[in-house]
Amino acid sequence: MAMQTSHTPAHPHPAGGSAVTPPPVGEGRGGGVAATDAPLLEAQGLTLRYGPITALDDVGIEIFPGEVVAIVGESGSGKSTLLRVLSGLQRPEAGTVTYRAPDGGAADIHRMGEAAMRRLHRTDWGFVHQNPRDGLRMGVSAGGNIGERLMATGARHYGSIRDAATEWLRRVEIDPARIDMLPRQFSGGMQQRLQIARTLVTHPRLVFMDEPTGGLDVSVQARLLDLIRELVADLGLAVLLVTHDIAAARLLAHRLLVMRHGSVVEQGLTDRVLDDPQHEYTQLLVASVLAA
C-alpha cells in the first residue's frame, strides 16, 4: 500500500483538514466550537496504574473537529500519560478511546491493528514532541524530514515533494534556501518549527502536542505560539495540547482540562477556568503564574 504510485504527493489526504467545520478564528475562542459535530476523539473511563501510583483514574475526554484542548497540571499529574494513551502509544488498564474517521466510521484505538494504527499516525494524526530531537531525523536534511510523511503515504515524485517541503519551510518561517541543511545546524526554535512543518505536511486532522514550547526562551516561545495559533486556524486542526504553561494554554486553547493525581479535577472553557477557577488546585495553579 505504501508503494502505490499515486499522483497526489502534496495533498495525499484531501479529506484531512478541509472537510471539517471551519474552526473558530482568533478572538472567538471558546464560544464558537462546533458542538453539533460528533467528537473526533472520545475517551471514557481511562484507568492506568504504575504499581501503587495511579497515573490515570477514570479519565474521560472529548475533542471535537477544529478544537484546541489543553491539558494542564503539575509534573506527575498524569498528563503525558493521558496523551500517550489517547494517541495509542500506551494501553490503558480500563476504558476506551474512540476515533471517528473522516468517513464517519468510529474505531477503538486500542483494538485496531498495528498497521491501521500506523496508517493513522502518518496520515490523520500528528505528534509534536517536546524535544525536536525525538520528532526529527537528525541525520536527514530539513527537506527530507518534511518529505518523509509524504513519501510514507505514497508520494513518488521528487519535484513535488521538494515543492511541498519548500512551501512548508516558508510557512513555518524558515528560509527555504536552508532546505538541504541538517536539523542540527538549526537553532532550537527552528528545530521545533521544522518538527511542526514535518507533522503538518500531510494535513492531519488531529495533532497531539507534548509541551511544544518547553525548553525554548520566551521570545522564541512567543513566536512559536503565534505560529501554532495561525496554522491551527488556517488548517482547521484539532489539537490536544499538553503543557504546564498556563499562559500558552490561555493563548491557544478553547477548552482546558486541569489534571491532578491522575484525575481531571476541573474542565471547561479556557477563559472560564482561568478567570473563575472552582477547584482549589486550579486556584493554586492560576495564582502561581508569575506576572512579568
Binding site: M1, E114, G144, M151, A152
Partner: protein, 356 residues
C-alpha cells in the same frame, strides 16, 4: 587430515590406498574402500587441472586462458556427508528456503552453521548451495564475476571434494551458480539456481539501527524511510548515488537487498526465469526470489532508476554491453577496462578468434 592426503596424492595411489584399507576396520574406512581405488584416483587427477587453471588465473587478463574444459563428477572425500552439512542441517535450511520462496523477498531466519571459511567469504551462500545441490548438479562459482579468483576456486573445489559434483565455468552449462556480487551476463534459464552470498540482508540497516523496528517496518510495508534516503541522495548529489546493493521491491511487497551486486545487474533480477536464493551466514537469514517474480529498483517518477556502467568497451573482447572492471596495469597510470564476467569475456574472445 585432508591436506595430508592430498599431499600423499603424488605417491603411487594403489599401494597407499590398500595399505590404508588394511589399517582401517571402521565403518567409514570400509565404505571408502567400496568406492574403488579407480574412483579416488580420478578425483585426485581432477585437482590437477583446477589448480593449474587457478594459477593461470593471474595471467588470464592477457587473454591466454583457453583450457576451460569442465570437470566431470568426482567421488566424495571420505569422512564427509554429501555436501559437507549433515542431513538435519540441510533439512532445516531447505525448510527455510521453502518458506523464503513462498514469501518472495522476506527474510527467513535460519540456524546458520560454522563453515570451513571465514564470515564474509560466502558462508551463507555455501550453506544454501550445500542444501540444494544433488549428485547430478553442475556447479559454477563466481566471485565478482570471475571464475578464477581465490574465493571462487576454493568454493568450487570444496564442493567437488565434499559433494563429488561436476563443476564448470560455463554459465549455460551450470545448474547451480553460486555468486558473490555479480549476476552472469548470459541470460539464465529455467531450472538454473542462482545462489547469492549476502553480507547484510537488511536493506534498512543503515537507516534504522533497531532490528525490532525494521522487522515491524517490513511487516507493515512501511518503506517511506528508504525513499527518504533516495531523496537525500538526489538533494545532495543530483542523482541517486547508489552504485551497488541498490534496494529493490520484490513482488510489489517486500523491500529487499539484492546483495552487493552492481546496480547494473538489478534489471536482470526482474522476472528472471531462474530461481534466486540468498544466504547470509553471519546474519543468519535466507531469502529468495522465485522465477518470474517482479523485482523493481526503487526510484522517483522524475528520477528513474539508471543502471551504471563504465563508458568503455572491454579491452579484451570489445563488449559494450557487459559490466566492466577497471584494472590498473602498471605504475605509470596505465589502466584498462575488462569484462567482470570472465566466462562471458572468454567465450566472446573464443568466438571472435574462431571467426577469424
Amino acid at each position: 587430515m585432508s591436506t595430508m592426503r592430498s599431499a600423499e596424492g603424488g605417491a603411487p595411489l594403489g599401494g597407499e590406498h590398500r595399505s590404508r584399507e588394511s589399517h582401517g576396520p571402521t565403518a567409514t574406512r570400509s565404505a571408502e574402500g567400496g568406492a574403488a581405488p579407480g574412483g579416488e584416483h580420478r578425483s585426485r587427477e581432477s585437482h590437477g587441472p583446477t589448480a593449474m587453471r587457478s594459477a593461470e588465473g593471474g595471467a588470464a587478463l592477457g587473454g591466454e586462458q583457453r583450457s576451460r574444459a569442465s570437470d566431470g563428477p568426482t567421488t566424495i572425500e571420505a569422512g564427509y556427508n554429501f555436501g559437507y552439512l549433515d542431513e538435519n542441517t540441510k533439512r532445516m535450511i531447505r525448510r527455510a528456503l521453502l518458506k523464503a520462496v513462498a514469501i518472495p523477498g522476506h527474510q527467513v531466519p535460519f540456524g546458520s552453521r560454522e563453515m570451513p571459511l571465514p564470515y564474509g567469504w560466502g558462508t551463507g551462500g555455501i550453506q544454501v548451495t550445500a542444501s540444494v545441490i544433488g549428485p547430478q548438479d553442475r556447479l559454477k562459482v563466481i566471485d565478482q564475476g570471475a571464475d578464477d579468483t581465490t574465493n571462487a576456486v576454493s568454493i568450487r573445489r570444496f564442493f567437488a571434494k565434499v559433494a563429488g559434483v561436476a563443476t564448470t565455468e560455463h554459465t549455460a552449462e551450470a545448474t547451480i551458480i553460486q555468486t558473490r556480487h555479480r549476476i552472469p551476463e548470459v541470460k539464465l534459464r529455467e531450472g538454473q539456481i542462482l545462489v547469492y552470498q549476502v553480507p547484510m540482508p537488511e536493506p534498512l540497516f543503515r537507516l534504522e539501527p533497531r532490528v525490532s523496528e525494521t522487522k515491524r517496518m517490513h511487516a507493515l510495508a512501511d518503506y517511506g524511510l528508504m525513499h527518504v534516503k533516495l531523496y537525500e541522495d538526489i538533494a545532495r548529489h543530483g542523482h541517486i548515488a547508489i552504485s551497488y546493493n541498490y534496494p529493490v521491491m520484490v513482488g510489489g511487497r517486500y523491500l529487499m537487498s539484492p546483495s552487493p551486486i552492481p546496480a547494473f545487474d538489478n534489471p536482470k533480477m526482474h522476472r528472471m526465469p531462474a530461481l534466486q536464493l540468498f544466504g547470509a551466514g553471519r546474519e543468519k537469514r535466507i531469502y529468495a526470489v522465485p522465477p518470474y517474480t517482479s523485482v523493481h529498483s526503487l526510484d522517483f517518477e522524475d528520477h528513474p532508476f539508471q543502471p551504471i556502467r563504465a563508458n568503455a568497451a572491454c579491452a579484451l573482447c570489445g563488449a559494450r554491453d557487459s559490466y566492466l572492471d577497471e584494472v590498473v596495469t602498471d605504475d605509470q597510470g596505465g589502466r584498462m577496462f575488462v569484462c567482470s564476467d570472465t566466462d562471458y569475456c572468454n567465450t566472446r574472445q573464443g568466438s571472435r578468434e574462431a571467426a577469424e
